[in-house]
Symmetry: none
Subunit: 209 residues, 4 copies
DNA sequence: AATGAATGAGGGTTCATTCAT
DNA sequence: TATGAATGAACCCTCATTCAT
């Protein structure tokens, strides 16, 4: 007896999730080039052929893994400027998000580094990253703009300054992925960097909370 | 009559340089995995076999390319703490070095990103990077230590703060490599980030220069 | 609908046999180093890649070819001491086996010679050959032991004498592989050598049968 | 000042000897395919190029190594039939030669095995080996012929029987090369095999000396 | 939907040999 | 005579992807 359409749909969803999770793990451990489709297939006990019923290619799978992550981040950060939070609290929220990322998403760190290298050779990935960056930067621009207009911030070059949070986050991510927590204290370093930047932008000196 | 030892040495030096330069360029254009040994060989008009008289493997060549760069940076940064410069000027110097890197070593940017991904899978590369990081960080620790003792800097956690210049530099490098100069202004962003961090560390507020 | 496990098993068995046979032939014709994996693949009309679904490497395939042969021989010779045959007939049986080998397994002769050279550099092959030798020698030791205890054989040093059949067989195999049947009469030479040895071991002189 | 012709000649002879000895050793250790020309060159501290001033190719060098050995053996064995020794003593002499070979020329054993494998693919080597075999066999034929005519030996098929000493020697050589002296007693096994064969050929029984 | 046998292009690496000095 | 830099053909093996069942 053939499966119902609903059953098939559920199978597809479950499998897709399984593959994405296994892929994320294997890519983290082996890197994009080191990971074999058969490794990922084996990790969830399906055949290689099955992989291609869910993702057209290794590249597509890799991008899908990253996409899951990108979408999550984008959803959060895009809401920042529109939220009721004060400028101060917006920056704090970014720090908290970063901290939770460094604490709970640790296995994603190497995948991100692989992804960055990957974007250098894959125009589609590069475009996707660019879009991601622009969205993120726009959020910070909006915050800065509001802060400057309100007289809270010095009139710095928004174009320049709005990249700083991402620069810091990516810098910490990168070094933490490579060096590990024996050499990096990502939460503290992110917080200090963001604080110094934030305070430096303020027109009046405030004590960090 | 065979070539003299001096002649042979010169040939080897010249060839080694040629290969390193060609490799840097090809790795920058094609990436580590995209680059073929034959591409590099062809770029300088030698056979593939010749490559292996100078470097045992593609991996070794890649690491050698990076090593040239690492050594240059290390040499400069290690001298910073011992120089006669004031703390302020030391930080300025870092900025100038970064600026010159972003302006003249642009082709190395993607190679660095690949290298970072590479260190995740290659223990030797990881060790080498770790050593590089520690040396660099130590220089900044020394500067900070001196500044704090002189009362110029707030008594921040040196362990945390000493990583910030590298975090910023690597963050800017990463984003510039991926996004290009249409989306990044590496010189300005590095300068602003360093300034804000620097000023934030000062006990007395000064106007940015 | 995927193939059943039984179907897959049969495919694997058939292919494995095909490859082993083709390999034996190509190794015989071209030698271990002269044979290319692609030659063997072509001989049965499969791709090179398929070869590696069945054997991990050229070395493993070569050893597998020899193993098929070793196992056949071992199975026969190990039964010799326990059989109901008289000592005389056991020796005769060895001769008949040798004869059938020289007549039907002619193509394996050069492969054996290559294998012997191969064992010199490959510890695994050496161990396997050693095991094979010990098993074979043990059979002859048992026969000799029984013969000496029964008073049929002179009390020769069993350790020494038990190697003679193998020495003769391998000596004939070697020379026949190299010189061919224009210069060697392997069946007759094996028989004569074994007869002389056998008779020499007897306590009473008998006419050769 | 250029060297004199005499000096050059001496250099050539010395170097040739050095290379032959180094080659014998390296071929013994690594096998024909495992040995690199550079290994041999390095063993005596000359460049790779120098090798080709003395031997046209790796193959030629390998054959030259074997030729040295073949010539020595041939010289001895060819004299056997014409010597004043009795048939008994001729056989004994063969044994003594074999014994001294197994005791002093041990490092040549693997080279011989390599050589045998080599003859399978190299017509020139095969021809050389055939010639060697025929010469050796002829010596034994002569001895047998004389023995039969003198009534000392049974009228066996000379063609068949004359190969037995070589079969035994090569069989023992082969197994000793592969198994080593933990598993083989080449001197004793050769002696016993030759004795049994020899006695079996005698018309009258004699006690081995 | 799932399987796994099969494909085949692709590239790193080795090493005997050559040749300019 | 000697050197060693350079050559370049050769081949094993990998692995993403396809396809018959």
């Amino acid at each position: 007896m053939p499966r119902t359409a609903a059953q098939n749909k559920e199978i597809r969803q479950t499998r897709t999730q399984q593959i994405l999770e296994a892929a994320r793990q294997v890519f983290a451990e082996q890197g994009f080039y080191g990971a074999r489709m058969s490794d990922i297939a084996q990790a969830i006990g399906v055949s290689q052929g099955t992989m291609y019923h869910y993702f057209r290619s290794k590249d597509e799978l890799f991008l899908a893994v990253l996409n899951v992550w990108n979408e999550q981040i984008k959803a959060i950060v895009q809401q920042l400027p529109n939220s009721d939070l004060s400028t101060v609290d917006k920056f704090w929220l970014v720090n908290q998000l970063a901290a939770s990322f460094f604490e709970t998403g640790e296995d994603l760190l190497p995948v991100l580094v692989e992804y960055w290298a990957y974007t250098l050779r894959n125009p589609e990935a590069a475009a996707s990253f660019r879009e991601f960056f622009i969205l993120m930067q726009q959020s910070f621009k909006d915050i800065l703009q509001a802060g400057i207009e309100a007289g809270e911030f010095k009139p710095v070059d928004i174009e320049i300054a709005s990249a700083l949070p991402l620069i810091i986050l990516d810098g910490v991510t990168l070094l933490t992925a490579i060096l590990g927590k024996d050499f990096m204290q990502p939460v503290e370093q992110t917080r200090l960097a963001q604080e110094l930047v934030f305070e430096g932008l303020l027109t009046k000196m405030e004590e960090p909370v």
